[in-house]
């Protein structure tokens, strides 16, 4: 918290003066690989006449499902032993707090952290008052702020996979899938300004690389 004084980043622990190491280079080298998915920039834009909440809701559900699946492919490699703390490279560490049940951030292993995180997201998505599924029921006033928190937290799973488990991703030949999903995610949050820039810092270079090629 010495780096960013904001209250919201209590669970986000950047460390000073730690070299990035060469794994960043590995990520960038493979950033080229994406699924031939057409113009994602266009696909994230709010369609004419659409309700922003509805658009954010449906996309959030999609991203949750994708991350759930992608993380599911590397759970063999993300263990208490391999990842005793939830991190995104040596510079960034995350502690878990959900603000209601766990108020004081706890330091825990990555698999545990991600389990907390995904369970929490699932609970939000299943909450009829937050994500109404019946036709005509409006979104709550705080919907956008809840969605932002969900997306901020989901980003951390991408960051952890990229930083700590990219080798198995290559071995499983799913780097194009991961990159495409992440690129889509980033385009989406950029389009509607949903995640604070500093939260994205752990993957900043990758983001620049992925988003510079086709705007």
């Amino acid at each position: 918290s010495f780096l960013f004084g904001s209250r919201s980043s209590k669970t986000f622990k950047p460390k000073k003066n730690i070299p990035e190491g060469s794994h960043q280079y590995e990520l960038l080298k493979h950033a080229e690989a994406t699924l031939g998915s057409g113009n994602l920039r266009m696909a994230v834009m709010l369609p004419e006449g659409e309700d922003l909440n509805e658009w954010v809701a449906v996309n959030t559900v999609d991203f949750f499902n994708q991350i759930n699946m992608l993380y599911g492919t590397i759970t063999d490699f993300c263990t208490e032993e391999s990842c005793p703390v939830m991190s995104a490279g040596p510079k960034y560490e995350y502690h878990w707090a959900d603000g209601t049940n766990i108020k004081k951030p706890i330091k825990c292993s990555a698999p545990k952290y991600i389990d907390y995180l995904m369970t929490w997201v699932q609970d939000q998505l299943d909450d009829e008052t937050l994500f109404p599924s019946k036709i005509g029921v409006p979104f709550p006033k705080n919907f956008m702020s809840v969605a932002k928190t969900i997306l901020k937290r989901l980003f951390r799973v991408y960051a952890h996979i990229y930083h700590q488990h990219f080798d198995p991703v290559i071995q499983l030949q799913e780097e194009a899938h991961l990159n495409t999903s992440f690129k889509h995610f980033i385009f989406f949050v950029q389009e509607f300004n949903l995640i604070d820039r500093r939260e994205l810092a752990p993957l900043q270079e990758l983001i620049e690389k992925l988003t510079s090629k086709d705007r």
Binding site: S22, A43, E174
Partner: protein, 463 residues
């Protein structure tokens, strides 16, 4: 290990391998559809604008229509987010049964809409070939939009079954119609064959070959018009399509020659009596399959026209040209069609009709349709057919329907236990072999958002 590059290999469980397959397939599917959906949405918007322009609406009216349309799109997004399950439907009646499952008439509880629910038992379908065909069916259903193909609205699954929620066509199917009637008149035949020509051509234009055109797959809508269905499902591609199945021919000589010697009336009776059983057997019947489909040399879309020739023969004569006691014998007859394809002299058939059948049921190089669908449409048998408007005109045999859920055009089937809940298992979601069916959730815009009548701009694609 992080910086070691791709040289380190990690031990991997089968569990992981399966998850990887699922994830990749799902994401590939997702992203190939994403852009498509984006474009489709833009197309719908454009269609609305064009329609409003044509109607010459005032600005105020246009604004209203635009907001109505936007609301519909918003509802669609919301529906994409909601998961459907068996609980959302009320099962009303079994209306069909096949080798891999059954078809039920169901009502969606919240909207009251009526659908046909195709229930497929996963256990019966996991055979590789079937899986491939389900995917094919999904693909065609997703792509084909229009009057000639049965629409699919939703699909979902549970541990035991795969569920396809499709348009309910109250007219029943051609197989049932042919079983009820001795033969069709030439006029009726002209109507059904013309419509089926257009239906087959529609899927050919999408780049598909049906491969299994048969009366069971020709459904009739509420007005008696034809729709093509079943791309390899319930009654779909069975052993009958596989050449190996007929390898042991010499061991299976026709058990009884009596069928050969029957007159056509008795032959038709015997055929019709056994017809339903044939449709529901897992083996299927090779009666309608083109000879080249069995051969290693390959086939193309022309094989569907052969099948149509066989159906046309059956409509006019009362039984298909190669029908026999056993599938093996039928297969033999199909393969030696040059000797076996004949018209019983006691059944009167016009020369035009005979000629068209013989032009359908011939070598693929000489088959009608090789020069395009116009070649077929130009055949003298179709004289007087209004190809552009046939679907809007009255059907040859009008369908009598009393209500939206009238099943009088379907046979009765006893209840089954296919929907009985599976004993509570706490198996993980990634059950072995389950992956093929994942992401099998598909929702269609039109049927979901429709309240009351369909707006004109959405009907625009129909013929």
């Amino acid at each position: 290990a992080m910086t070691a590059g791709a040289t380190t290999t990690f031990p991997m469980s089968n569990h992981t391998r399966e998850r990887v397959t699922v994830a990749k397939l799902t994401l590939e599917n997702f992203y190939s559809n994403l852009i498509l959906q984006h474009e489709e949405r833009e197309t719908r918007q454009k269609k609305l604008e064009v329609a409003m322009e044509e109607e010459g609406l005032a600005d105020e009216e246009k604004k209203l229509r635009r907001s109505q349309h936007a609301r519909k799109e918003t509802e669609f997004l919301r529906l994409k987010r909601t998961r459907l399950g068996l609980d959302d439907f009320e099962s009303l009646k079994v209306i069909g049964r096949g080798a891999f499952g059954e078809v039920r008439l169901v009502q969606k509880k919240d909207t009251g809409h009526i659908y046909a629910m195709k229930i497929l038992r996963k256990a019966d379908m996991l055979e590789k070939e079937q899986v491939a065909h389900i995917r094919a069916e999904r693909d065609i259903l997703v792509e084909a939009d229009g009057a000639w193909v049965v629409k699919m609205f939703y699909s979902f699954q549970d541990k035991r079954n795969l569920y396809l929620i499709m348009e309910f066509l109250p007219g029943g199917d051609m197989m049932t119609l042919l079983m009820k009637k001795d033969t069709l008149t030439e006029e009726e035949t002209q109507f059904y064959i013309s419509e089926t020509v257009l239906a087959i051509d529609a899927i050919h234009q999408l780049g598909f070959i049906h491969r299994d055109v048969k009366p069971d797959n020709l459904l009739l809508d509420a007005k008696g018009h034809v729709k093509l269905s079943d791309f390899g499902l319930c009654t779909g591609l069975k052993k009958a399509h596989r050449t190996e199945f007929y390898r042991n021919l010499t061991h299976n000589p026709p058990s009884d020659f009596s069928f050969q010697n029957m007159n056509s009336k008795r032959k038709a009776e015997t055929w019709k009596k056994n017809r339903r059983q044939l449709a529901y057997s897992t083996v299927g019947t090779p009666d309608y399959i083109a000879p080249e489909v069995f051969m290693q040399t390959g086939y193309n879309k022309l094989c569907d026209w052969w099948s149509l020739g066989v159906i046309m023969y059956e409509m006019l004569i009362g039984f298909p040209p190669f029908c026999s006691e056993t599938p093996q014998e039928t297969y033999r007859k199909v393969m030696s069609w040059k000797e076996t394809l004949a018209f019983p002299p006691e059944v009167p058939v016009s020369e035009k009709a005979k000629d068209l059948i013989l032009r359908f049921c011939t070598d693929s190089e000489n088959r009608i349709g090789n020069g395009g669908v116009e070649e077929i449409k130009g055949h003298p048998f179709f004289e007087g057919v209004d190809w552009g408007h046939i679907r809007e005109r009255p059907a040859a045999i009008p369908i009598e329907i009393r209500s939206i859920d009238d099943t009088s055009n379907f046979d009765d089937f006893p209840e089954s236990d296919i929907l009985q809940p599976v004993p509570n298992t706490t198996e993980p979601d990634y059950k072995s072999k389950d992956w093929v069916f994942l992401n099998y959730t598909y929702k269609r815009f039109e049927g979901l958002t429709q309240r009351g009548s369909i707006p004109t701009y959405m009907k625009a694609g129909k013929l």
